[in-house]
Symmetry: C2
Subunit: 209 residues, 2 copies
């Protein structure tokens, strides 16, 4: 697989984000309602008909396939549909990544009903999804350097409660085309899941010596 | 954390599933549309207002908090809101798990735009989410035996293309309270991600000797 060289102008990015991000936020609230509602059959039928009408309106003009990844002039990746950070993807919490000067990345986010595995707790695989992404962001310097997950391991110290959480990741060391990253998810009492991953620079992105 | 002892009657399960599963399917189509639409500002504003009205209708009566896990009389777990298999959760593909007599579990599913990481490919963390769940299902015999992920490791052999996929998992061995499971995700050309996990029977669920 190869990343597109297509650029997106920063002003155009802001304009599209302002238009479509609130739509994704509305769909996120609908997802939560869909899981937790006790509406009766008539109400559910009415809701479905209305949702299908909105979907028909939105799909009148849409892109073919998926967005993939584009880049802004500063090298920052734009991933509209990413299931972790995509501001246009209602599946994404979304996680907003902050970068420290030393390369450490962190995020604070809230997970509710759509992310539940054991009762009242985050699905273990959701923690793996978020940590895979966060370690990948650390390893690829904010998606500016192509890096793919080679392996990732998660160790579950205890259950991760639904609610407010924090996650962080950093590069441990770089060894040729391999970048070793570590990170964790924590609640107010400390880490609940630890992760370590090896990320590989693909052959087409390696610098020639 | 402890699982509720609350049972759900099989007929009641079928009745509720028939009511709410189609709603989640409609929301899944809306999620895809939300990511890919090129609708203009007026259309997006109209879509948002309508979605917010539907959400208000559905949240007039809803459960407090989350569904957790309930059990049917045959011991089968019911996880309405699970992000991998929950038939009421629009975030879930959803994956439908099939069980072979020997304990092997498998599933076939299709992943589209909401699950994209690298262009045209499944987000590596989504593969980890699905494999964590599938190995957990194998280790816990279809959620009838409580088992929590201790560790899980995923090895990425190559990119996993969006589209039709298959995943499977099985128990490798059981050693006291630890169950070792393995599995993979595959496209038509074979495995793309391999996983191995250790699942732990919680103290409260261990049989006394």
């Amino acid at each position: 697989m190869k990343f597109s060289e297509e650029l997106i102008d920063t002003a155009e990015y802001q304009r599209l984000r302002a238009r479509y991000e609130p739509l994704a936020q509305s769909v996120r609230a609908l997802i939560d309602a869909c899981i937790r509602t006790e509406a009766d059959q008539d109400e559910v039928d009415r809701a479905r008909r209305t949702i299908d009408e909105v979907t028909a309106l939105l799909t009148e003009r849409q892109i073919d396939g998926t967005h993939g990844v584009r880049f802004m002039p500063d090298g920052q990746g734009v991933t509209w549909g990413n299931p972790v950070i995509g501001v246009r993807n209602p599946i994404a919490p979304p996680v907003e990544i902050h970068r420290e000067p030393g390369g450490r990345v962190w995020t604070e986010f809230v997970l509710g009903a759509p992310y539940e595995g054991p009762p009242g707790h985050v699905h273990g695989g959701m923690s793996a999804l978020i940590l895979d992404h966060l370690l990948g962001e650390a390893a690829s310097d904010g998606l500016t350097k192509p890096n793919f997950t080679g392996t990732i391991s998660c160790r579950y110290l205890r259950g991760t409660p639904l609610g407010a959480l924090r996650a962080e990741a950093f590069i441990e060391r770089v060894d040729g085309v391999k970048t070793y990253a570590r990170g964790h998810i924590a609640d107010a009492d400390g880490p609940t899941v630890q992760a370590e991953g090896v990320f590989i620079t693909p052959a087409w992105a390696r610098e020639e010596n």
